[in-house]
């Protein structure tokens, strides 16, 4: 089946809207394959087609929602009935309403080709071969690799359609694939793990050779790692770590958080919130980003939104609801799952890359801690208060090169402080799975706790 059928389903549900009622249907279908190998054999091979529908009904300024993991007609009917019933228990809100043609007018959906037909015809044997080869190559990448904890390949062909009774419609489809391996290294000093992964829209996008190399380097360079005494120190964030930190920070730009008094940056538009050379952008129209999309979760064409320009906070991201309620208008930043009303979020967040390579940043950093990975990001960081404290491992940097490895330490600051303390942004912009891209970033000072 193809998207037009999904759109037909969405239209048929939207068309049931009664007098004084708005109805929206969001329909998704994903075909996916996942291969996990271990010890030279396929450990598991999953093939599946997942579909579902989310239905939103607004009547008398009250809103209700229902969802189902099935497109069977009886299940859709039941969901529509439940959504209507749920709306009856809602409270009126003058800003409720589905996206209207007026909100779409003047915005052309970006021309993005996110679908690679050839991925659909890759035989399963080829996917299995990739995963097996990945495991073999990872094991062979360094004599200190004692085991490969996991090696996997996965892909997904995803389609979605949205239609509402006001006449707004959208249709998207995308392909994605990824591969990864986790290496366990041991030289007698204890085990360290390291991973490598790549992602793209089709097989030819994947630099598979980089996975064993990255996994081996990341595991082996931590061998012998120990806690070091705590102190205040400059911190270099690996691109993957930068990605995670920006992901947490992004909620501070959420228009819903702002309206509800839960944003760090409420009332700070136009103020300096970051170092003067910092540019933070959410650009879902950039096809290089794996989160790129032509439409948002309300069915509105996406656009490029600048969040920080020259260190100055520009404003908040909005969906239709928060855009109306704040008076600032939607920024086409509605995110959408089947089971909830549209939220607000980034799709393709990134810092504007700086002029220097990671090596150049290291050589200018003096003594620093290079953070290879962090843990407990969601338990130790509070995007509302800004408190930031995470577990970390990585390497000390001295004279521009890696020195001894460290583990079982924490790094702490606040998100507000970290933005102002950004000292350098690398040129190594790396598009990663999810909604945020990474690059090397130098933070002038954080508190390291250790031995």
């Amino acid at each position: 089946m193809s998207s037009p059928e999904l759109l037909d389903i969405a239209r048929s549900v939207a068309a049931t809207a009664r007098e004084g009622e708005q109805v929206e249907a969001y329909v998704v279908r994903t075909r996916e394959t996942d291969v996990e190998v271990f010890d030279g054999a396929v450990e598991s091979l999953t093939t599946a087609s997942v579909e579902g529908i989310g239905i939103r009904v607004i009547a008398g300024q009250r809103q209700g929602l229902a969802w189902a993991g099935s497109l069977a007609p009886d299940v859709i009917d039941e969901s529509l009935k439940e959504a209507r019933d749920n709306a009856g228990f809602g409270e009126p809100d003058e800003w409720y309403g589905l996206a209207s043609p007026a909100e779409v007018d003047g915005f052309e959906a970006p021309a993005l080709d996110l679908w690679r037909e050839e991925l659909a015809s890759v035989p399963t044997e080829e996917k299995v071969r990739i995963a097996l080869e990945l495991e073999r190559a990872t094991k062979a990448a360094d004599p200190r690799i004692r085991n490969v904890e996991s090696a996997s390949y996965g892909d997904a062909l995803s389609e979605s359609a949205l239609a509402n009774s006001l006449g707004v419609e959208s249709n998207t489809r995308r392909t994605t694939c990824s591969a990864s391996a986790v290496a366990l290294a041991d030289d007698g000093s204890g085990t360290q793990s390291g991973y490598g992964f790549v992602a793209g829209r089709t097989l030819s996008d994947l630099d598979l050779d980089s996975i064993p190399r990255d996994a081996a380097i990341r595991a082996c360079r931590l061998l012998g790692a120990k806690p070091v005494p705590g102190r205040r120190i400059a911190v270099i964030l690996d691109p993957l770590v930068t990605r995670s930190v920006l992901g947490i920070l992004s909620t501070a730009f959420n228009g819903e958080s702002m309206l509800k008094g839960r944003s760090l940056f409420a009332g700070r538009s136009g103020e300096k919130v970051a170092a003067p050379f910092v540019q933070l952008i959410d650009d879902p129209t950039d096809a290089r980003a794996l989160g790129a999309s032509q439409y948002d979760g309300d069915g509105i064409p996406t656009r490029r939104n600048a969040l920080i320009v020259d260190g100055v906070m520009q404003g908040f991201l909005h969906n239709v609801y928060t855009g109306r309620r704040s008076g600032e208008g939607t920024t086409a930043s509605a995110t959408r799952g089947l089971g909830s009303t549209p939220g607000v979020g980034v799709r393709a967040l990134r810092l504007e890359p700086g002029p220097r390579t990671p090596e150049a940043i290291m050589s200018r950093a003096g003594e620093a801690l290079y953070v290879q990975s962090v843990s407990g990001l969601h338990s130790g960081t509070n995007p509302i208060s800004g408190d930031f404290s995470v577990g970390a491992d990585g390497l000390m940097v001295r004279d521009g090169v890696f020195a001894e490895p460290v583990r079982e330490i924490t790094i702490a600051s606040t998100l507000q402080r970290m933005l102002l303390d950004i000292t350098d942004i690398g040129s190594d912009l790396t598009f990663l799975p999810g909604a945020v891209a990474g690059m090397t970033v130098l933070i002038g000072e954080m508190t390291m706790s250790g031995a």
Binding site: S44, F89, S193, L259, A412
Partner: protein
Amino acid sequence: MTAPLIESDVLQATLDHALSLGGDFAEVFVEDRRSSNGRFDDGRIEELVSGRDRGAGLRVVRGDTTGFAHTADLSRAGLLQAAEAAAGAARGGNSGTNTVALHAAATHPIENDIVLPETVEKRRKVELLARADEAARATASAVTSVTASYADARRRILVANSDGLLADDDRVRTRMSVQVVATGDTGMQTGYEAPGRTMGFELFDTFAPEEVGRRAARRALTLLEAVPAPSGRLPVVLKRGAGGVLFHEACGHGLEADHILKDASVFKGQMGTQVASPLVTLVDDGGYAREWGTLAIDDEGHPAQRNVLIEDGILTDFMWDVVRARKEGRAPSGNGRRESYRHLPMPRMTNTFVLEGESDPDDIIRGVDFGIYAVQLGGGQVDPATGDFVFGITEAYLIEKGEVTRPIRAAQLIGNGPEVLRMVDAVGNDFETWTGMCGKQGQSVPVSSGQPTVLVREMTVGGTAA
């Protein structure tokens, strides 16, 4: 008596078909899940959602390879097609294995005193949230934002496999969560409280919504007065209940058989040896009455049971699912769990407890000259291969000269599992549980953990204070 999700002759035919294509073991897992959730925000109901999810996961195991397919189509044709896909994935020869005729179903109907969520008017669910919201707001004027959420789910499952196993379960879970933001001179702080149990609407007889709201509010208000957390290695006292997640991370994950068989756990090869202080006895008990991680059967049809993992500090067992237990020629331990029919089961914790010791909790605190008293933790993470773990503290205080004094701001604690287990210097004679969601390889399942008040001699506290 409700009708079975799938008639047993269809299950039998599906299993036969799967094995006829080659395989040593086949399984059908059927699920029908209805859920409802609501969110009260900004002083009014913001979202009321109903969900329905039903389908089947088909698994065929041949040697070390598992083929898996799932479908939302529960017709005979849909199941046979999924069986073919799963068998094709496991692929190859040996089409000689036969299905054992399915036994009479082991059924686990819902107990009579459970108040089924579908029998409760939606209006009453909304009212609960309003009560929690009002109580939280009334706590102090510094409370600037309250989000109260309600969620219930009724999950009927049916498992049949080629060994003849046939079992079903009907699970009801209910949870409320309240997040409060308080604003003061030092900025915003948050407080969170989220009780949940494997039960129905009677949850609120035990956990009054007003009290849930007030507890979250008090937590946020306390943090407004908090000083920056210290930085460095300090003694840590974990209040009863709060620290269960420490043991969940510090050793629980490392005792799951998949990590052991992949040689990716620090506890591999340690069976029968002293891995923890003799004060520590750790059990995983899926049968513990109505806790958040409680099950009648696991998601592979095996009865939940109480497994002693560490006894007086000595490692006694791991946690097993069917595939790993078959490999080792032993019985599974009732720990095979999956998020939904779309996921493969793997060894998971259920309710993981450190058993009571003999120390008076007040004496434990009095014995600390300078340290941390952790009252609520915000979840954690571990690398089972290295044993390094972290968890966040969301309500904690300084202990100064044996007294609990000033609250401290959120911070991370970090340690190494085997090291921390050996540094448990006291275990209290009190006990409480904690409700959470455990994530592993992209699958989230409800778990609880529990413990008495515990003293860990030394852990690294990741604060910002010098």
